[in-house]
Symmetry: C2
Subunit: 394 residues, 2 copies
């Protein structure tokens, strides 16, 4: 039982860590609970139920399907659902009336054919690259069309059915949006901003970590690269963050997509805030991350330059890396504070990187150019140095 | 009108290209149409409608929501929906009975509280990292629970409602799975296999393209990196493919996740086929792609080694790159044919790479080690050479 209680403790600790990492997680959970409760009250309390009837059930479905983590994503999904329902409703009512006038035999045939056509065309369209973000809207069109036209056929009066359903979907959407915006709103724009700043810091940290390991390591205890690449490299936390930066393009894009739907808020007091610039900066930063990942690959590759060679330029390497990481961090800070640092500061930073890079170059040239009549040992070292270098490139 | 007809022609051509690129897109669209048609027939034809009543409408909803591109993804989504509906049904019936026995006043209060709790707990749980893939299942639990318990309260007999709904969901799921598996099935496993092989080729091509551009380019007409990085680099098709390889981790993982649900098929005649190994190989390959992306960054950076320096080792560089690309392509071919090439062939390939790398090293050493009393010109060149090198690293 002591093992049970200790594993229970460990589990509680993990749960606590998970919550503390991002308290929005709990906020979001409570908001969902609140939204479904509010919309259920519409049915549990007698008055609204008497007005809207059983169709009010669709408002619950709408809340459960539409409620998203951020304000922007909820707006976006709501827009998809509203427009999709509207289009499908108009189409279904039109086709339904047409089928009604074409006689008892033709009616189910026309309905069947249009269902097939709508299914096929919608499914084809949603694969078109520029329409992919609206995948959910297409799904809504498909099932709304089928529902309205089929229930119209079996239950008569498709317009009444459609309108009742649209009302209850609108109520559900309204509740979802209200709760999402008014109760501790989680803004996609704010998330995007934080995410990008964190990426800058992650790249800078990973760069420093990589080089530190390279200079520390005796080059003997290398676990096989292909075996460890999938694992977490748990002793390299900065690398893990950098890897998630490398894979962040989809996340940044979807956040920017959501943020476009949000009204001005907090520090972002402008309509048409240029959220897509965040995605572009992220793409450029990712190029830095690729270089760091390439360095990381070197660190864990099997063929390594001997420790003595690596340590030769220790101070120069460390200096260059510190300066480079500083530049990346400062760019991140600029974005974080939404303030340009002066051009003079920036150019002095860049000059610092350039100088320490040159110092490293000079050191390499000095060691790699032994006197032509140099002794065997020196020669061997310089060749190892260059081969070590090449292995990095491959 | 000639501009209209020409833009219409251009549009048709793009559409045709889109279809020819992957004919599965049309197949998928027709399959969706067929599935919704089949399930609609259940309502349009009198007999099944008389048996199941209006609840049969849920089978349409199920098909529209469950039908996915690949067989595995459909199974996966179907499993989520089935298990979610079942759990929610059991829970709702239990709570519903409990609330029923607790009196007229307490009943709506109990129902309201449980709706809030289920909403909050489900929304919290689905954010837990290891449960994220089942996000859809949690959504299903939430809205099924609300629907059953609320309609049970208002319409009486929750068990009957729940059972009818489960039946029609099962029918919808059955139709979706049947059509997906029997009519031109699109297997996630096959897609995963092709995707990985294509990635190997993309990396090899991009490597060659990069170096070719580097040696071709006069180093003068460089568009600014930050301005072009977001565009398509339309004159570098291989790079675009390589970039999508770099961003493919989510795609490979979701395909592997889907493939696990598929029965043995085609060339993959084994239960428990090791699909996760594809993801691992993809991760290792991505490290190669990072290096190529790093090289690509060099190609488009502002500071460039002068053309004369770059061209000095042209033949050695080209030889090394060709050999390296060959190794990558051969690994891709091995996976494509699902056959190991002999160890001797592989080791001779690797030795080829190694030899041409060494030849390049030697050439660099020879040029970078001018006699210590060398003339000014030579010295300047070697320093430029090394600085050019360093810029690549940064």
């Amino acid at each position: 039982s002591s093992t049970v209680s200790s594993s229970c403790q460990a589990w509680t600790r993990r749960l606590w860590e998970f919550v503390r990492e991002d308290s929005n997680r709990v906020t979001f959970a409570f908001k969902v609970g609140l939204a479904v409760l509010l919309v259920s009250l519409l049915i549990l309390v007698r008055a609204p139920y008497d007005i809207f009837g059983t169709n009010i059930i669709w408002s619950i479905l709408t809340v459960a399907i539409m409620f998203e983590y951020t304000v922007g994503a909820t707006f976006n999904r709501g827009f998809n659902r509203a427009l999709g329902s509207l289009l499908a409703g108009v189409l279904a009512i039109g086709v339904g009336q047409l089928a009604l006038y074409s006689g008892r035999v033709a009616e189910p045939i026309i309905i069947g054919i249009t269902i097939f056509l709508v299914g096929a065309i919608i499914s084809f369209m949603k694969q078109w690259p520029s329409l992919v973000p609206y995948e959910y809207g297409f799904r809504v069109i498909l099932f709304t069309y089928c529902l309205i036209i089929v229930s119209g056929y079996r239950m008569g009066n498709p317009i009444r059915t459609a309108m009742d359903r649209l009302y209850s979907i609108a109520i559900g959407g309204f509740v979802a949006v209200l709760v999402n915006v008014l109760v501790f709103p989680i803004w996609a724009g704010e998330q995007l901003h934080k995410e990008l700043v964190a990426s800058f810091n992650a790249v800078a940290e990973a760069l420093e970590e990589c080089v530190k390991k390279y200079l520390e390591d005796e080059g003997l205890a290398h676990p096989e690269f292909t075996k460890t690449v999938m694992d977490e490299f748990s002793n390299e936390p900065a690398y893990t963050k950098c890897r998630s930066t490398v894979n962040s393009s989809a996340k940044l894009e979807s956040l920017a997509n959501s943020a476009k739907w949000e009204p001005p808020h907090g520090r972002f007091r402008r309509f048409f805030y240029p959220w897509s610039e965040y995605v572009k900066v992220g793409a450029v930063l990712r190029y830095c991350a690729y270089e760091v990942m390439a360095l990381h690959g070197v660190l864990h590759s099997e063929i390594q330059a001997p420790y003595t060679v690596r340590i030769t330029f220790k101070s120069e390497i460390e200096d260059a890396v510190t300066k480079a990481a500083e530049v990346i961090r400062d760019l991140g800070k600029e974005i974080s504070n939404m303030k340009r640092i002066g051009d003079t500061i920036r150019s002095s930073l860049l000059k610092g990187v350039h100088n320490s890079a040159e110092r490293l170059q000079r050191a390499v040239v000095a060691k790699a150019l032994p006197p032509t009549n140099g002794d065997e040992n020196d020669d061997k070292m310089s060749s190892q140095l260059i081969i070590g270098n090449f292995e990095q490139r491959k």
